[in-house]
Subunit: 348 residues, 2 copies
């Protein structure tokens, strides 16, 4: 029963390409599937529904200790909350909203019941903020580290649905809040952890008061559950949207691929918090790298028809215009502000 | 940031109790949650729906290499199919049906793209049988073994929904198909694997022809997607239902706890295939243990009001009456057929 096909490593192919490979599989013809699977969430028609104005959304994430989180500096309540943010962001990115969250856990021996309680305190806090129930579903044993699978169901009104497709040349590229903060927080936490490990002390209690903004961005990020109302109030509908989970340039690429367009980004316009700049300075690192490549901000990237930018600003201010959609053959360009294009070839 | 609460091990508490502990958490009041979380699937009301005749179901499972499956004797296509069966069974147990399945994978280096393809061939085969789309969602790296998270959304008509609650004294306890076969298959596979490891050969190609029935029960189990129609045709509605995933007696206990009743089971009435008996004989083991404790059959256990047994038999024959619901204070009793009660204290 061994595998006789050739070995092609997933690392060679890349996770994103792997996902593409399996994103459009068969399935019974009797169930309609509305949108492409390159979206943030799966989008389904309801079978046998009389009113066809609502769509079912499903999103998920699987998170492994040692790969996605480090319990030495991630308090469990914060971790639970953060993973709710991560998965909810995929529903909000479709302009939908969560209905219910399910949690599956695979637990190693070192995790106690009390630790699970803390984790669920965090899930619940996310459930309160994102207005959804939290249900523990599958609990099982793990031989290597804690594994957390979060899946959410959501709904979106058909006419409100926004996907990664739909951006057109001339649209303005917008981003909410500021970016790079979560990466700045991670850099500080990793530095403190390294220093702590060198001391050989048992417990890790760094004084991070002066870094509270970026630490909170890393450990307890919130996602944008305020956009749907803002769009409705301003009577605008973005032409495309995507959540910022793996880094601004990564998400711009995904949006460009889905919409079949190019992007020109103005580096000086990308919003970065003062606290994030200070960390980059302290670490002697380039803050533009934090802004462009730093993940886990869970802000939203969306595109607006040109006239809609001002319309949105009348009711909602927490966003910045960072670039413009261009023709596909122009590719993705990063403009440093002096007109010179920057090299973004080494994007990973 | 260390954990200061006392350490209570999950092993001490038990996974089932752990699940209970976290099954009824808060969540925003604005979202209604219809049923208890001791059910096979989460059951949600749709927010802002005009027609309230349909409910949303969500079920899931997380499966780890080395804990839930062994790739040395589980071909990947079969594994994909089996996990679809496992999760779909939780929706069918509510008398609902799947709409969509999402797959998250955490992949160790040893897993190739081609191996993923085989796995998805299996998921797709499950999607065809259970009439749902299959969507790859989250793909990530694993440092230790393959991890597969399957989650499904489904729907049930409100008046058709069946839960674990509702069984009443006098109801007949029914089980579909036969039980213990998957465990018999596992016993053979483990024996062959042991023999193979002792030979030191590279590849594992046992001749299992004579055990094909039980091997298929273990590696490619199907669940009962034929019951809803059978109930409708016969115009009966079970008072409770649960899928057989961890073993008959385990599921009887869960149903008894949810319905707050007792059960008397007649051991000679529990349906066991001839092939399963032959394996038990060959292994010099007690076939009743396979039948009572063997998991992964994915048959259904349900309870019918007494008059409904005959009604169902007119349109559907593949079930057996194996006992009767009794008062709660009578507990769970296993009757050996000669009137003597069997000891089921050591149930785990």
């Amino acid at each position: 029963m061994s595998d006789e096909r050739p070995f092609r490593s997933i690392h060679q192919l890349g996770y994103s390409n792997l996902l593409d490979l399996f994103s459009s599989r068969s399935g019974a013809e009797s169930r309609k599937y509305l949108h492409g699977t390159e979206e943030s969430s799966g989008v389904m028609e309801f079978p046998e529904r009389e009113s066809a104005d609502q769509l079912l959304l499903a999103s998920s994430g699987i998170y492994l200790e040692g790969v996605h989180f480090d319990l030495s500096y991630s308090p469990l309540q914060h971790l639970g909350f953060k993973l709710m943010t991560a998965v909810a962001s995929k529903l909000y990115a479709m302009n939908g909203e969560p209905v219910s969250a399910q949690i599956d856990l695979a637990l190693p021996n070192k995790v106690s019941v009390e630790m699970c309680e803390k984790l669920f305190d965090g899930f619940d806090k996310g459930g309160e903020l994102y207005q959804c129930n939290v249900i523990a579903r599958d609990m099982t044993a793990s031989r290597h580290g804690l594994i957390i699978s979060v899946h959410m169901q959501g709904v979106a009104d058909r006419q409100d649905l926004i996907t990664r497709k739909g951006a057109q040349a001339g649209d303005q590229i917008c981003v909410t809040g500021d970016v790079g903060g979560a990466m700045a927080g991670l850099r500080i936490l990793l530095r403190e952890k390294k220093a702590w490990m060198e001391t050989g002390q048992d417990t890790f209690h760094p004084d991070l008061e002066e870094y509270s903004y970026v630490i909170e961005r890393q450990l307890m990020p919130r996602t944008r559950n305020d956009l749907k109302e803002a769009f409705t109030s301003a009577d605008v509908k973005p032409t495309s949207m995507i959540e910022l989970s793996k880094g601004l340039l990564n998400e711009v690429q995904l949006l460009a691929a889905a919409s079949e367009i190019g992007c020109e980004l103005f580096l000086p316009a990308i919003p970065v918090a003062l606290e994030t700049r200070q960390v980059a300075d302290e670490m002697k690192e380039d803050v533009d790298r934090y802004a462009c490549y730093g993940g886990e901000d869970y802000e939203m990237l969306f595109t607006l028809q040109e006239g809609d930018v001002e319309k949105l600003q009348t009711s909602f201010e927490d966003f910045s215009v960072i670039g413009e959609i261009v023709d596909r053959d122009e590719g993705i360009r990063l403009n440093a502000g002096d007109g010179s294009p920057l090299d973004i070839d080494n994007l990973n």
